[in-house]
Symmetry: C2
Subunit: 223 residues, 2 copies
Amino acid sequence: VIELIGGRKTYQTGALSFEALRGVDLRVEAGEYVAVIGPSGSGKSTLMHVLGCLDVLTQGTYRLTGHDVGELDEVDLAMVRNTQIGFVFQQFHLLTSLSAVQNVELPLAYRGIGRAERRALAVEALERVGLGDRLENRPGQLSGGQQQRVAFARALVGDPAMILADEPTGNLDSTSTEEVLGLLDELHAAGRTILLITHEADVAARAARVVRVLDGLIQEDAR
Amino acid sequence: VIELIGGRKTYQTGALSFEALRGVDLRVEAGEYVAVIGPSGSGKSTLMHVLGCLDVLTQGTYRLTGHDVGELDEVDLAMVRNTQIGFVFQQFHLLTSLSAVQNVELPLAYRGIGRAERRALAVEALERVGLGDRLENRPGQLSGGQQQRVAFARALVGDPAMILADEPTGNLDSTSTEEVLGLLDELHAAGRTILLITHEADVAARAARVVRVLDGLIQEDAR
Ligand SMILES: Nc1ncnc2c1ncn2[C@@H]1O[C@H](COP(=O)(O)OP(=O)(O)OP(=O)(O)O)[C@@H](O)[C@H]1O
Ligand SMILES: Nc1ncnc2c1ncn2[C@@H]1O[C@H](COP(=O)(O)OP(=O)(O)OP(=O)(O)O)[C@@H](O)[C@H]1O
Ligand SMILES: [Mg+2]
Ligand SMILES: [Mg+2]
């Protein structure tokens, strides 16, 4: 499902340029559960953004379910993102003026799903992460851990084929962490492809495969 | 230095009201190192915001170094916040249009410290957290862990008497976590008062005292 060949990503900050990915090769089969670990600043989020079609490579080839992502235009990319991929951002990126349930409905609204069905699916997703009693709270009226769980519910709600989760348990206590990891196990058992970035060794251990990133390169790929 | 008596905080969400703090009593002496733990949504950040003069109690008394915070006006509160307290927010709250070094200079600018001295102190604080080579990057050009370290450097730069840190290591790998905790140890050894919210048991173990919060109340206070 994922084929990345010689992936490079360079950022420009004024006159300086910084190569965050320096030639990454990665293949992931459909239904695999892969953890991505590595030091702060090593390129994990950059890699995820490329795999999630949120950012483009400076060089190299990326094929998602056989399609060359470099050939797709903005509209195609948005369709792929919206129907195939559920993304949990490291910084949540919730819309602050919308309530929790509205934030979770959003991916469904983009797909043109009707209001009543959208709401029912969003409520169910929030209940699965233990937030059935916070539906109308806006992100500023939720704790850090609750916001993270809303972001997680939003990634699951459309039942996408692939989940890309960037430190989904960074702000969570052990009980909420267990809930989130339990949901990922369920999705994996149902055949979804999962990539999970984490700093926590016990979280990485849940995956069947662990990819270690260092200074923009894959250093190790252990099954 | 901290005396909280019967602290209550109620949030209003439309017609619903939710009591996040339900009568908290807490005394902290100058120079103490206290960890605050508890489940997601239990009231830890709310407590910190009250202690940091960022939010006000609905009921109860809060005295900071002997002054009744409820009697202070907005200007006094800002002065107290800016000269006595360094705050590391759970969501970083960096200004996205400023560079890393400008974000760290900000607390010093509020105090009227000159440009050259401000810059030198800010550069030094960023070097202490391992970001001497990212001075001109804006928050959007930094990784999650790097942003968290900028937020940490901003809290330290004015050498405040009290540091309130809300999950300062949530997004950090083990090396950066060690760096940040090492800095907190140094500050504690230099007599600063430290309150640290964390979900990680090994991080809480660094403090001399651990306060456990549950449903808006202090459940346990272990030395
Ligand atoms: N502005 C607000 N309006 C309504 N409810 C709020 C508001 N801010 C916080 N809350 C509620 O108050 C409770 C306590 O929030 P707080 O942020 O203090 O939790 P926390 O212990 O820091 O949790 P976490 O570990 O998830 O960060 C939560 O249940 C939250 O939903
Ligand atoms: N827009 C940008 N402009 C310049 N440099 C950037 C930009 N975005 C990221 N970087 C740099 O690229 C490197 C990789 O960032 P990335 O966010 O992928 O790290 P990460 O492995 O996710 O780290 P963390 O564990 O701290 O989240 C970092 O050194 C960062 O400073
Ligand atoms: Mg990251
Ligand atoms: Mg919190």
